[in-house]
């Protein structure tokens, strides 16, 4: 094949990239899937549109840092702002308290991160032969800018979400600490998802479920591995026939490796967050902008619904930064310019892929 093609098949469907979504907050994607926004526009772009309806997103926590909360908070706020009902479960005694920490969306008159310039700049930086790898992602971002605020908002992490979004029947909370088994949570999820049962017609609404720190040690079901897996299997089957997205975070370091692997296989989208050690001189030398990073996000698996083609990302690890101390952004890791005297080699290139036998930093 002389000409490299951006599309995998020789038949390209005539889907207009600016197809109007059936309702705000839901965007159509390839292969008949619909997307919900994660609440972080960078993450939506990385995942090729967002979280597909009917998928299970699993976030692997780092016990040393609460970064998974950032993902959960934005996910939850995004749903509430778009009037998508939310079910939130956590091991805390009073989960409703967490709602007070949800970020507020920026209104258009506030300053918002100007990503337009950086996108254009990106266009200049990419050498021509690598354009084909970006081809798949570009149509989404171009068409999305106009409808941006109907799908994905920018959130100001310093301002709490307005009360009006939290009132009403939109938010249900549940504590997983005291239930003797998972049946209560299962039933709660089942009832919640019934309202989003998928039919062949137009969708009437979309919902979100956020389960935080699943299998935390304080939960009574913590050591009942097969019950947990059974619950996840059942949840997965319920979500497949619903217009909803479940995001679930769990601490893999506190579970047995095979159990953790089983959970990872059940996920459609698999992410992990890691803390960045403070004052790490080696890292500071290796990466640009190290001081601004608050953590690392890795994308291990991207949901593949209705297709067998895997999404291979150019870079699988991103730095989590707070832009202007307010906005959550994800950036590719960039290797700092090598100092001539230090003599380190370019053995790992900045945009290289994840190595399965990689070191602590895979980028």
């Amino acid at each position: 094949m002389a000409t490299p093609k951006t599309r995998a098949s020789s038949f390209s469907r005539n889907v207009p990239s600016t197809a109007a979504p059936q309702m705000p907050g839901v965007k159509s994607g390839p292969n008949g899937t619909l997307f919900l926004s994660s609440g972080i526009s960078d993450l939506d772009k990385i995942l090729g549109g967002g979280f597909p309806l009917g998928s299970l997103v699993v976030v692997m926590e780092d016990p040393e840092a609460p970064h998974h909360m950032l993902l959960l908070r934005n996910f939850m706020s995004q749903g509430l702002v778009l009037n998508q009902p939310l079910l939130y479960a956590s091991p805390a005694k009073d989960p409703r308290g967490f709602l007070g920490t949800l970020p507020s969306p920026v209104s258009s008159k506030d300053d918002k991160p100007l990503d337009r310039d950086s996108e254009q700049e990106k266009g200049l930086r990419i050498a021509w032969q690598y354009k084909k790898y970006f081809g798949e992602n570009q149509p989404n971002s171009n068409g999305q800018r106009d409808n941006k605020f109907e799908f994905c908002n920018e959130f100001d992490l310093r301002k709490p979400l307005q009360r009006q979004f939290l009132s009403g029947q939109r938010v249900e909370c549940m504590s997983t600490q005291d239930s003797p088994d998972l049946a209560a949570l299962h039933d709660r999820c089942a009832t919640f998802l019934k309202q989003f049962f998928r039919t062949d017609g137009n969708i009437s609404g979309a919902g979100r479920i956020a389960i935080q720190s699943f299998c935390a040690p304080q939960c009574t079901y913590f050591d009942k591995e097969w019950h947990v897996l059974s619950f996840i299997r059942s949840l997965r089957s319920m979500i497949r026939s619903s217009n909803a997205v479940v995001i679930l975070s769990f601490p893999p370091s506190l579970l047995s490796p095979s159990f953790s692997k089983r959970l990872q296989h059940m996920a459609d989208t698999l992410l992990s967050v890691r803390a960045i050690p403070d004052e790490d001189k080696d890292l500071a030398k290796l990466l640009t902008g190290y001081q601004d990073m608050i953590g690392l996000l890795s994308v291990h698996k991207v949901a593949r619904i209705n297709t067998q083609v895997p999404i291979i990302l150019e870079a699988a690890t991103f730095s989590i930064k707070l832009q202007k101390r307010k906005f959550l952004v994800l950036e590719c890791l960039n290797q700092a310019p090598v100092d001539g005297s230090s003599g380190t080699s370019y053995a790992t290139s900045g945009s290289c892929s994840v190595s399965s036998k990689g070191g602590s930093l895979d980028f």
């Binding site: 790898y133 049946a183 059974s230 299997r233 026939s241 692997k261 067998q308």
Partner: protein
């Protein structure tokens, strides 16, 4: 059309008979590299229109992992219409995804778990018996074994029994059995009995792994195919190991030797 995987599985022959008759194929994968495309490929080769021999091919798909809509869309892009095949009784879909135990799911009831597998096997046995009465060539596909273990509440004995029984079908009715399992789940277990037994049971082992150098857009991973009964050119029985790379596309999968990317 011939490709490296077909050659490794023995599907490139010119005969009318389905070469995997009476054989058990185990596909192993990991989180980084999914192996479902191998199963899709075998399904497509089995069901898609070939010279007249395919008219009596019937496939039973025991799906724990995905709904029918997913398989239907994927296989349709590969050139195989599952819904049409189902209407002609060439394709049976056992929906195990929506299998739900009313309220007993989270109790320590191993018996419930294994009884599910027992009744599942009964269903499969009856279906196979009915199909083979019409002189059909049958393949049973299981996606996937790890989820079957969850359904059985962790009782790997029940799962192993189930698979042993499926194996009896290969000798009794000349079926093929194709199963997908996630090898990395067992890699930390000291004595992964289920895994070892499965690998022993199977005639052909296909393992999908990531490249040692990490993921790449052009090469999605590598396949290792271990065909225990493969005869080499001289006719002496032996086993052969094939290694090659692959790239998964919507309409097909490219297989090529390392560096031979076309």
């Amino acid at each position: 059309m011939d490709n490296l995987l077909d050659r490794a599985l023995g599907l490139d022959g010119r005969g009318d008979r389905w070469p995997l008759l009476g054989k058990v194929v185990l596909v192993e994968d990991c989180v980084e590299t999914g192996g479902a495309f191998v199963v899709h490929h075998i399904i497509k080769r089995f069901l898609s229109p070939q010279p007249a021999a395919a008219s009596n091919h019937s496939l039973i798909l025991v799906a724990f992992s995905q709904p029918l809509s997913h398989y239907d869309r994927v296989l349709r892009k590969l050139g195989c219409n599952l819904v049409a095949q189902r209407d002609h009784d060439r394709f049976l879909f056992f929906d195990m995804l929506n299998l739900r135990f009313p309220g007993e799911e989270f109790r320590d009831d191993v018996k419930t778990g294994s009884s599910v597998l027992v009744s599942l096997f009964e269903k499969i046995y009856n279906a196979v018996r009915a199909l083979s009465a019409e002189k059909n060539c049958i393949t049973i596909v299981i996606d996937d074994i790890a989820l079957m273990e969850v359904v059985a509440n962790g009782s790997s004995d029940s799962v192993l029994d189930f698979l042993h029984y499926c194996r009896t079908l290969t000798s009794e009715f000349d079926c093929s059995v194709v199963a997908l399992n996630h090898g990395d789940i067992y890699s930390t277990t000291e004595k992964p009995m289920l895994m070892l037994n499965l690998e022993y049971l199977s005639n052909i082992l296909v393992r999908a792994e990531p490249l040692a150098t990490g993921s790449a857009v052009d090469v999605h991973g590598q396949l290792m195919v271990f065909n225990k009964g493969e005869h080499d050119g001289q006719g002496t029985p032996g086993s052969k190991v094939h290694n090659f790379h692959f790239r998964v596309k919507e309409n097909s999968v490219d297989f090529f030797y390392p560096g031979g990317r076309g």
